[in-house]
């Protein structure tokens, strides 16, 4: 058992026979993914794939969070300095990491013992096994920030049951461990006090055949009851409303439901939609709908185009404004532009999905060629 710990390393690495345990190590920032962390994770994942002595990779976070997201504050700083391309590079590296994880030929077990949001979902949900605990808090909060659920979320959200994916992606709703398990975002649920034992058992796998890890996880997993007011108990309303063709129709459908019954959950849902960036809502809806019909690689390529348009800020500057209001000044009062859904025209939405016209320099996201893919990865492509 060799334990490597570079004191400045943001990703800690432990080797325990055939298993590599990677720990995200930026607890003060809730393990938000920096550019260096992304590069390091990518480097490690690719190396482990080639290394026959590695059978399994475990990913977890130090402190009370797994990973609260990407380092969007840094991207906003780059944009403000007129350097949107640096921001674009951040996202392209991140999406390539997401793609490698989604098409990984060895099992990845992510232990989501805390906050997992945005970019945190990107480095875990695409992996084969996701372990939720009683401490898990999941969300894709991007529409409140003037962004959209990226990191391949258009792939996995769209594949949740019914139209739950639209609900999660548009409202930024928080899900606990039980809800993640119920909807399929998590594959197993293990109480946090058993995690140490679980890790020890996982370190004994001698093969990269996922059935070994699966058998171990199945022995630890539980099926916790959904809380009484869980959104996942309201799938009938969610499917009825979030299947509508446009954001406006989704909101009217919810408002119609609200008149039938005075319900705190429906009002809260409507409120989060009304507070989100109109531009974000519309591009997110379309992204999820398109992603439903595409493989994970195509989703990431499309999302990369979208995020470049977002950070260029030519159609809307909501991303900068959202980060200001929520992360920097924290007044929680963003001034969106366009302010109303009707002012976000289809032609404006369409622009986010086109290639970026730059003085000859911009290119679509280039995904690495993948070989030796397991059947489960082939089906994602």
């Amino acid at each position: 058992m060799a334990v490597e710990m570079a004191s400045h390393s943001q990703v800690l690495v432990e080797e325990k026979s055939g298993v590599r345990i990677l720990t995200l190590n930026r607890p003060k920032q809730l393990n938000a993914l920096s550019f260096q962390m992304i590069s390091r994770l990518l480097q490690l994942c690719l190396a482990y794939e080639e290394d026959p002595s590695v059978k399994l990779v475990i990913l977890k976070g130090l402190g009370r969070a797994f990973c609260a997201g990407g380092d969007v504050a840094a991207v906003v700083r780059d944009i403000k300095q007129g350097n949107w391309r640096l921001g674009a590079n951040y996202f392209s590296d991140e999406y390539i990491l997401n793609y490698v994880m989604a098409t990984y030929s060895k099992p990845q077990v992510s232990i989501l013992n805390g906050i997992v949001m945005g970019g945190g979902a990107g480095v875990s949900v695409h992996g084969r096994f996701r372990i939720a605990t009683e401490n898990t808090v999941f969300a894709m909060p991007e529409t409140a920030l003037g962004l959209f659920p990226d990191i391949g979320a258009s792939y996995f959200l769209s594949r949740l049951p019914g139209f739950f994916g639209e609900y999660v992606g548009l409202t930024g709703a928080r899900l606990d461990g039980a809800e993640m398990l119920a909807c399929g975002l998590a594959t197993h649920f293990v109480p946090s006090k058993r995690l140490t034992a679980l890790e020890a058992d996982l370190c004994r796998v001698g093969s990269s055949d996922p059935t070994f890890a699966s058998t171990i996880l199945d022995a630890y997993t539980q099926k916790p009851r959904l809380k009484q007011q869980s959104a996942y108990r309201r799938l009938d309303v969610i499917d009825k409303c979030f299947s509508r063709r446009t954001v406006e129709e989704i909101i009217s459908a919810l408002e119609r439901e609200a008149t039938q019954e005075a319900d705190g959950w429906i009002s809260a849902t409507i409120l989060s939609l009304k507070k989100a960036s109109p531009a974000s809502l519309k591009i997110s809806l379309r992204s999820i709908r398109e992603g439903r019909l595409q493989g994970v690689g195509q989703c990431l390529i499309r999302e990369y185009r979208m995020v470049c348009h977002v950070i260029k800020g030519e159609i809307s500057k909501d991303f900068v404004e959202g980060c200001r209001a929520i992360l920097v000044d924290k007044d929680k009062n963003p001034k969106w532009e366009p302010r109303r859904l009707e002012d976000m025209k289809d032609s404006m939405v369409e622009k986010y999905f086109t290639r970026v016209e730059e003085e000859g320099e911009w290119e679509d996201l280039k995904l690495p060629a993948r070989k030796n893919l397991p059947a489960i990865a082939i089906s994602k492509l």
Binding site: P161, E249, R292, G295, A375, I378, S379
Partner: protein
Amino acid sequence: MRKLLDGHNLVDRDWIYGLMTQSNLFNRKERGGKIFVSPDYNQTMEQQREITMKRIWYLLENGVFKGWLTESGPEAELRKLALLEVCGIYDHSVSIKVGVHFFLWGNAVKFFGTKRHHEKWLKNTEDYVVKGCFAMTELGHGSNVRGIETVTTYDPTSEEFVISTPCESAQKYWIGGAANHATHTIVFSQLHINGTNQGVHAFIAQIRDQDGNVCPNIRIADCGHKIGLNGVDNGRIWFDNLRIPRENLLNAVADVSSDGKYVSAIKDPDQRFGAFMAPLTSGRVTIASSAIYSAKVGLATAIRYSLSRRAFSVTANGPEVLLLDYPSHQRRLLPLLAKTYAMSFAANELKMIYVKRTPETNKAIHVVSSGFKSVLTWHNMRTLQECREAVGGQGIKTENLVGQLKGEFDVQTTFEGDNNVLMQQVSKALFAEYVSCKKRNKPFKGLGLEHMNSSRPVLPTQLTSSTLRCSQFQTNVFCLRERDLLEQFTSEVAQLQGRGESREISFLQSHQLAEDLGKAFTEKAILQTILDAEAKLPAGSVKDVLGLVRSMYTLISLEEDPSLLRYGYLSRENVGDVRREVSKLCGELRPHALALVTSFGIPDSFLSPIAFNWVEANAWSSV
């Protein structure tokens, strides 16, 4: 390329694809780690009919049909057509049920009816308060609408029309929706006023009450189990002196006053009938388009399968060869792929001219839609058969779709006009145009005949590869063929008439030339649409590939047509050159095959499981 092929309303299509994949009503299943949605054709006829209706209610609840009758204009119409196409990609039965209700019943009310009909029926149709069907076809008369035997008279004392079925051959047959669900129908009938038969007219009749009981003086029987399309409840209807109010005559073209006088703005009965039937073109447009989407499903499946399935080695200890690496397998599938591409552009062009139609363009639309409907539906049947064979035993499995689609789409070749009859209409229209222009000594204008005003094209005797792929050469051959066949046809008919035969008999005897001509006209019209699409593209890889596809379309059409040798447009050597060029093109299209079928834009979940990981789909763990 997907944008080019689907043409319009991509976001709307994706929405419906999503509605279907996310609901439990569309028979979701997992195969090989992927989700698929396709109807369970193993259900009984009754089960299939019920689930089809449930699927339509689900789409209705989601607002899919909003504005289908109450909105007008090209944009609204294109959106309807796109949504209908997606329904058809999922299941032909769904699109037929929806099509009968909205495009046959609904459009009849809209275009044959007047304000009072619109106000009473259109919104209720959109909301499915009434369920409509379309009683035109009879046991004894299908393509020949003018010969139907249902009779309607007028009773001035009660101001009612009386509809009756005078003999068994007059029973309405194949009426989609009539057997189980429909509450109302359009009835087509001969209208006898004061002893004079004023010809075929359309009426509204209620056939069921809101509780589903058949109304008095109406008998309904089931058409029974079919070789496909069992999600549609086709019925047979007899009218036993059924009385309907005078207002139920759809009176846009003609009317009957309360005291029983027949009035019409169009005096000539033939013209009246033509004006009357014009709205039915929408059927041919939607059929042509859905035939091509069905062919796309078949080809996407067969080509993807052939890119992962191996059979036989060609070297001693070598690996088995991928199916699509065999020249013979390429030759079976790639020309069909190119034809499907060309016809896809043709179907889109037809939709565009249809939604922008004016009274002046109606005649041309009638001719072109007749040609396209016939050629595209025949092509679909041929393509599905080839695709079924190309995937071998897997094509026999119902769940793998390719074989099942044959039965589901077969009817397209004979409904809304038998293909052979429609093609005759094409040649008759060209004949009439030719004779009229020659008589008045006017240049040809319309129906794509303008090339006849210039001198006869001369084809080079040496056909090199670059000549064969040159669009000017390709256009010239198609124009020459059309011109020569038109001249031969009119000349032969004239000869027969000169010997004392009537024009109609002369047409019948010249039917072989008529068939050749109809095909030549249609193939040229199709070529023009793919050329137009190619021309609009900026230089680049998409344009280059489309150029290869276009050449393949042209050359395979020439290779398969005996007319070229029979009438000497090409020499024996030339025909050999064409054949060799087709083989060359097969090799050049091979690397693009996957991209070409992916560009169809049909989501993976709507294809067959064998298009993907067919080994995993059949693994023991999934049994």
